[in-house]
Symmetry: C2
Subunit: 159 residues, 2 copies
Amino acid sequence: MNRKITITPLTAKAFAPYGDVLEARGAPDKLINAGKCGRFHDRAKVDVMEARVGISIFKADLRALPYTFDLIERHPEGSQAFIPMSDDPFLVIVSDGPETTPKAFLTDGTQAINFHRGTWHGVLTPLAGNGLFAVIDRIGETPNLEEHVFETPWVVTRG
Amino acid sequence: MNRKITITPLTAKAFAPYGDVLEARGAPDKLINAGKCGRFHDRAKVDVMEARVGISIFKADLRALPYTFDLIERHPEGSQAFIPMSDDPFLVIVSDGPETTPKAFLTDGTQAINFHRGTWHGVLTPLAGNGLFAVIDRIGETPNLEEHVFETPWVVTRG
């Protein structure tokens, strides 16, 4: 029997134990370009230990709801930010650990996220759009990957 | 009298003297997530000298063509990547210096860019979409900004 998880909207407060929500919410920290651009400054905890920060592009297949998964993973040596390159919601699955029930958040189409170093999370799951993401993470030679496979899969639904 | 610049499509080759084009072109460097995601690995020269790399969100007003400008700027202490958060083209203006004619590139709606450290460039100029960009650049206390104002403005047109 599968186990159900219901989606909740992604908010900075709910996501705080897992990472940062990167969004243009509230007043910008600074207005630049003669007032024509607002800078929401330094909103991610980028943390790659002794290594280098890099930018990669991910192209992911679209997924559909209900979405079934049995794998979570984490990167012990670095944070990992996902910037969607289309204005479509994507699913963000996180967990406090293999023994607990994962959480499923849905972005609002204007949000990017940054998983803090060591946060357990699901794989990239765009639900619409071009599936393109810019990824800001640790560039290094180590595997920097731990995986956990649940015996019983989870099913994410709209509720 | 204004001076005209005609837009050309953004390509990695044409943009190479100024920075990196970040796009999912050709085969990915690695397939991850059971083949469902391609990673185009480490595509930007992130270069922030002795400082820290951060992620900020910019929200910029949309601009229209023909687009008139008289300002270019550069950041002597760091590279600066712009990741569009919608799948719309934006204008990328670069220059070899105050004494030369700037160039105007147009992205194809799937491309992000990274200005190399010290590249002269125009301000952020989205032409459509939500005007949201993730910006990966140097976080520090110095101004890290040089500006040049042209006596005679330039006008960017579709040609």
